[in-house]
């Protein structure tokens, strides 16, 4: 039972480079989310999706883009990486039919921009 899988686990980028963080879930969840976690700052929502073809901005979307072409996959794109994007990125998903909104998280991607 894989749950939410994120790749890569670690990445170092140079300023101005681009990359895509991959996220896939095998629970047939409609809702998927991308968060970033900075030390002592908790989880900040970057983007979310309520189903294939539908995405929306969260609290901190600047510098990121997403797409949702399938129920399973929700990649996060970083264009023109900046040091401020150094963080740990988590993908999560939930079953939209559950009122309690329990989210299931991947293991995270640690990104450093130097």
């Amino acid at each position: 039972n894989a749950g939410v899988t994120q790749t890569p686990k670690f990445r170092i980028l140079k300023i101005g480079q681009s990359m895509t963080l991959q996220c896939t879930q095998d629970m047939n969840h409609n809702y998927m989310y991308w968060y970033r976690q900075d030390p002592g700052m908790g989880l900040k929502l970057i983007y979310y999706s309520v189903g294939a073809g539908i995405t929306d901005k969260g609290e901190v979307p600047n510098g990121y883009n997403v797409s949702r072409s399938t129920t399973e996959d929700f990649p996060l794109r970083l264009e023109l990486a900046a040091p401020s994007q150094t963080s740990v990125y988590f993908c999560a998903s939930t079953d939209s039919g559950r009122a309690e909104n329990i989210q299931y998280f991947g293991a995270g991607t640690r990104l450093s921009v130097l």
């Binding site: 809702y31 989880l43 939930t94 989210q103 998280f105 995270g108």
Partner: protein
């Protein structure tokens, strides 16, 4: 003012102690209250959730919600070294794309 406030700690207690972790919030529309546990270099995992006010117990863990005071707590009895982790409170109003607002997390260390 942040929507959810949580003392970041770190909190260090001896094995076997009772631990109390707390959060306050400002949005009276929150109905669902959750505690996530996050081990070092891992993703958060749901520990407990509570709907509206009241208590919920699961083994050594008890979650309390006081909506009148906008205050939630997590109690850990007979704490074990394996409970050492960061604990994040989280809450939702049950609408708006199932979005959850997280606290900043409290880092807990249980000394053997």
């Amino acid at each position: 003012q942040k929507e959810v406030e949580q003392d970041p700690g770190p909190l260090s207690v001896p094995e076997g102690a009772i631990v109390s972790l707390n959060c306050t919030y400002s949005n009276s529309a929150f109905q669902y209250f959750m505690w996530y546990r996050q081990y070092s270099r891992k993703g958060p995992e749901l520990l407990m959730y509570t709907y509206s006010s009241g208590n919920k117990e699961d083994g050594r863990f008890t979650a309390q919600v006081d909506k009148s005071s906008k205050y939630i707590s997590l109690f850990i009895r007979d704490s074990q070294p394996s409970d050492s982790a960061t604990y994040l409170c989280a809450m939702s109003d049950g609408s708006s794309a199932s979005k959850i607002i997280f606290g900043s997390g409290t880092r807990l260390s249980i000394r053997p």
